[in-house]
Symmetry: C2
Subunit: 457 residues, 2 copies
């Protein structure tokens, strides 16, 4: 478990606050008090979903079971209008996945996983010479002749950042590398995992082949395996070779769905606050940090706001489906509800480590509200950032369409150690930091849900 | 890479020593000087063996390739009498390995590996109710009726210790658990990995079924998977079930071998100093810490002693085969050479982190030698222990037969994070700590190899 010295402050605050409450009041009243002192629905949800359901790949029976579990859990917590809004989506399924360094040394097995939407090698696999590129940019710059008939390898080692800003840079190798490699005539592509750990766990994730580009086999190997490939390349006099067996397939349209729940506001005409997470996960692990914890955090915060007293605005929870493979749930929500008014949108989808920064994208009318939020969060170690809130993927279409947004930015320093790997399991969640998330969300949410119509649309 | 503050001292010492040498002498003269200043054969051996050969399971063609590589490497380093001494041994081979929690929740896949000598479930696998035990002792104390027809699970979580002393206690679940479970009528046994990490990597290792006990399927699951099993058990109203597919097999006798090399001493009648490591590894990784590094350390130290000037006694290097699966190499060495005189035996087989303690098991005649070694090692952060040296597995038979021993005890705090897992790869080796090992070994070895016949037998 990681210890964060900054949290001693929170612990002291919580204890002091609890003592004060015992001495001076019989009942805690604010959502923040409740979040600090009460039981912890965020942990209960994260533990329950990962233990009872486990991995929840989009469009699978496991995701469907998670929706049933979610509807029951949210109803049981006292939320209103709890429902499963289904939609159809195309499903890609992982097959066998094996890789070997085959030449010039004795064959050595590598830990590999196929990228979502990868093509298949067929059951016999393929073998080819490695075309090495230090980065996605190097691949882009290379002539087709350097790639044609070969297996592309992109070797860019991701470095950790607190705000996760490296994902865009390093992630291009996964998002776009397969398309570029295919366009240049590669027979397959293997990337160094988009990850910051040194374990034999490859990082999964989706790639999208551009219109008209036939998918080639595409996989990620773990960092230690990428190191080994590089060492063999340095020692080999000539080319090195890889053999791949990846047999994923697309199985057509399947049903997925969004689970929605509400805390009804006092003023039904006021536009709702929408808060999101995603219920699906990759198949290699139980998806504790991505994104069971996010669903736990937003539901716990909303529950505390509800318990503290009915808010002015409705709070709508969106536990989206099928985020990992292309934000199908977020799109389905937008298709169904994009025309409705929304006051502001927030998402929790960056693990369970502490919120350290808050970013805003609010109208000018909300300047005072923004200041009130900044002041409310400061005691919990949250600074106000200077950047513009981007929102999460599942509320991305709403924000694109003009809905205001706030980002409660979580510490991502170790997020990409675990992201999309077999290691994304409950033991990686620090309960103290998880609770700080709930406290910060409860503080933010009670201010937003009680804001006036002159502040938010 | 782990940073150890204690090592700043070593780094400073090395730099100071280098500066002194440049100023006052044209050539470094002592083995310790060479170890601190020269190139690093320990790293070169560890990197070469793990990169070019990779995993080296006992009795396999990979182990045979490693022996060829070893003979060439040791000859190339200038050692004398380099040879491969073959022997026959029984070989067990890993098959398919899969496990699921199947009831009462949706099936969830677990990361499992078969224990060496495990029986097979057959290709269809077996399913059974879990008989839970908190420890090996709890299993031993249970009546047969609690176990019969079930799959035993032993849940003892290993805690890290600097001296590795927990291995004996926690390891009983692996060494003896399968025999006890089989004797009580279990259809299979699964243990929580004998390991201190929290990654989805199970820890392999051998078990030995007692005479007359038919092997049952026996596997280890990773710590996060064991946590998941326990959580499901806590949430389930009734029993939980496991399904296992483990299809290992024994394939009869195969050839293995010990690679031996020598630094010939000035006085051929003086008994040799024997230093050991093992060349084989488990098959899940490249065996960097277990035990390529050990072979690198002892060879580098011997090379530095040789370069510094011919020692009085011969130094004999034993790169033993087939240690992991039952110390067949150590036994073969003893069968072939156990009657010869040996002055003292040492082994490096506990990773590549720094030596922090030296333990002795020397005759009274070596009291002054022991003091000289303690004094020589103190500057490198090594304390003299109060315990009796045990020796490594490959020199165990010699020590049993009365050969004196010294243990250069390595820091094992993170050894069981990696031990026998897919994660035992080169990136886990800290070059600074690896070099400290070589320095400490060179200092010890030059004193031992130049000791008199009145000190050591
Ligand atoms: Zn996510
Ligand atoms: Zn994700
Ligand atoms: Zn070993
Ligand atoms: Zn071992």
């Amino acid at each position: 478990m990681t210890q964060h010295p900054a949290f001693d402050r929170l612990a002291v605050f919580a204890v002091a606050s609890l003592a004060a409450t015992s001495a001076f009041a019989l009942q805690p009243t604010s959502a923040v008090d409740l979040a600090q002192q009460g039981d912890d629905p965020a942990w209960a949800i994260t533990e329950g979903l990962t233990t009872e359901i486990g991995p929840r790949p989009a469009g699978s029976d496991r995701e469907a079971a998670a929706r049933k579990w979610a509807v029951a859990t949210l109803r049981n917590m006292g939320f209103a209008n709890v429902r499963d809004e289904p939609y159809q989506m195309p499903v890609w399924e992982r097959g066998e996945e094996k890789a070997w360094l085959t030449s010039p040394f004795l064959p050595q097995r590598l830990a590999i996983t196929a990228l979502g939407n990868s093509g298949s090698t067929g059951p016999e696999g393929i073998e080819g010479e490695v075309a090495y590129f230090a980065s996605f940019d190097a691949l882009t710059a290379a002539p087709d002749s350097a790639v044609k008939g070969k297996i592309v390898f992109i070797d860019h080692q991701m470095e950790p950042t607190q705000d996760g800003s490296g994902y865009g840079l390093y992630g291009r190798g996964r998002f776009m590398g397969p398309t570029v490699a295919a366009q240049k005539g590669a027979i397959a592509i293997v990337i160094r995992s988009i990850g910051t750990d040194n374990h034999r766990n490859p990082h999964a994730g989706v790639t999208n082949f551009a219109e008209g580009v036939a998918p080639i086999p595409a996989g990620a190997i773990s960092n230690p395996d990428a190191d080994q490939l590089v060492r063999q390349r340095n020692r080999a006099a000539g080319p090195i070779k890889l053999k791949l067996i990846l047999t994923p397939k697309t199985i057509g349209e399947r049903t997925s769905g969004n689970v929605i729940a509400e805390v009804p506001g006092r003023e039904s005409a006021a536009s709702p606050v929408i808060i999101a997470c995603h219920l699906d996960s990759w198949d290699l692990a139980t998806g504790a940090i991505d994104d069971a914890a996010g669903c736990g955090i937003i539901a716990a915060a909303a529950k505390h706001v509800m318990t503290a007293g009915q808010p002015r605005r409705t709070i709508r929870l969106l536990w989206a489906g099928a985020e990992e493979v292309g934000v199908f749930g977020g799109q389905a929500y937008f298709d169904a509800h994009g025309k409705e008014k929304h006051a502001v949108a927030l998402e929790s989808d960056f693990g369970a480590d502490r919120v350290w920064r808050v970013d805003f994208n609010l109208p000018q009318s909300a300047a005072d509200l923004q200041k009130r939020i900044g002041l409310a969060l400061a005691p919990f170690g949250v600074v106000t950032g200077r950047g513009k809130a981007q929102g999460g993927a599942d509320v991305g279409a709403l924000i694109q369409a003009g809905v205001p947004a706030i980002d409660l930015q979580q510490d991502g320093s170790r997020y990409f150690d675990l992201h999309h790997t077999p290691d994304d399991t409950l033991d990686k969640i620090d309960p103290v930091q998880l609770r700080q998330n709930v406290v910060v969300w409860a503080a933010t949410l009670s201010l937003l849900a009680n804001s006036s119509d002159s502040e938010l649309p």
